[in-house]
């Protein structure tokens, strides 16, 4: 009850909790900063095996035409170097980069995967796009070839989110003429 003596129960609780929380903050800051010491890069291969463009109906306007691209690809990537003590998970994504006829610069994610353990960090995937791949002009006709890249986002237990690129197509991949059926 006497605040001048410094032995009051509340004063003690206050001091101890303040000390503990500043220790906690310092520890969290140290862990967050330690992420910058691990600057490992992931390495991988990406190959586009085939690509088809199909003319279909738009999602919102059933009587409007919308081209959809179907991309088949192979991915092999070793992401295990990215796992350190402050890696909670990796978000791996494959994106297409191209400039369309109206000179709109586009980046479209067509596939992604969440990697949560180091044991799953060797990624080998053969398949096709998970998300709809369409152009905002609704047509792929005459659109210049696209680049594809495999990127990742390292998500920490505490601290800063980091980004990187694991693989990229060496040559641009052209969009074929649209077909009416797959």
């Amino acid at each position: 009850m006497d605040k001048h003596s410094g032995f009051g129960i509340f004063t003690r609780i206050n001091n101890v909790s303040a000390f503990l929380s500043s220790c906690m903050m310092a520890l969290l800051a140290a862990i967050a900063l330690s992420s910058f010491l691990f600057s490992a890069q992931a390495d991988g291969d990406l190959a586009i095996s085939s690509i088809k463009v199909v003319s279909s109906n738009a999602r919102r306007y059933p009587n409007k035409k919308q081209d959809l691209a179907f991309v088949n690809f192979n991915i092999t990537a070793d992401l295990s170097p990215l796992f350190h003590w402050n890696t909670k998970q990796l978000f791996l994504y494959l994106e297409a980069e191209y400039v369309n006829k109206q000179s709109v610069k586009n980046e479209v994610v067509i596939w992604d995967r969440i990697v949560r353990r180091k044991e799953d960090a060797f990624v080998k995937f053969v398949g096709k796009n998970k998300y709809m791949f369409r152009d905002i002009s609704s047509s792929f006709k005459g659109v210049p070839p696209a680049n594809y890249s495999l990127k990742y986002n390292i998500m920490p237990y505490v601290g800063v989110l980091q980004y990187g690129e694991a693989a990229r197509t060496t040559e641009e991949v052209a969009f074929p003429e649209p077909q009416s059926r797959l």
Binding site: G8, F10, Q89, Y93, Q102, N106, V108, V109, I114, Y157
Partner: protein, 191 residues
């Protein structure tokens, strides 16, 4: 019961009460200054947000704290995690960018003026990591997300800390208990 407190009050006088009020006001004012200062540095109206939904699990859970920046001269990229607020929606949403479309302005002159013009025309589509479909249904009739809807991009992450605010919203009793407890503590400690 309160006679002693009242006596203490009288003994301390008006001056002391005014001083307490002033202290309280300066605590609130400095808090506001820090918040607004952070907002100016990060160019974001809300530089720290609490995750309110599970749509970004397992990356972010309810109650995790996110630190945002929104540099005016930087474009958004796929894989960035954005916080956006659609006019008419009451809560901001934390989702990842799935598509970006940089529409350049019609006349080349405005493109030369500064980079901002080009950035202003960026159209985005987002998706929650834990959702199966993209966010177009959340956009309230808009086709794309635009720069003006975006509060910021997630740069830093601190788990659990924001859960206090969620708990206070979900259980209002807790809020009153906490306030009452603090008030009581202040009353007891004064002597």
């Amino acid at each position: 019961m309160f006679t002693e407190e009242l006596k203490a009050f009288k003994r301390l006088g008006v001056r002391h009460i005014l001083l307490q009020v002033l202290n309280f006001a300066s605590v609130i004012a400095s808090g506001l200054m820090i918040w607004k200062g952070l907002g100016i540095i990060t160019n974001s109206e809300s530089p720290i947000v609490v995750v309110l939904s599970g749509s970004m699990e397992p990356a972010f859970y309810r109650g995790d704290l996110l630190f945002l920046t929104n540099p005016a001269d930087e474009r958004y990229q796929t894989g960035d995690i954005t916080v956006y607020k659609i006019p008419g929606a009451d809560i901001p949403i934390v989702h990842r960018v799935l598509e970006t479309h940089d529409v350049s302005p019609k006349n080349a002159k405005s493109r030369e003026e500064n980079g901002e013009k080009v950035l202003a025309h960026q159209r985005l589509l987002t998706k929650g990591d834990n959702n199966y479909v993209d966010d177009i249904e959340l956009y309230q009739g808009l086709e794309w997300l635009e720069r003006k809807h975006i509060v910021g991009k997630v740069r830093g992450f601190l788990p659990y800390v924001g859960y206090v605010t969620i708990a206070m919203n979900d259980f209002p009793q807790l809020k009153y208990a906490l306030l009452g407890g603090l008030g009581l503590l202040a009353l007891i400690q004064r002597e």
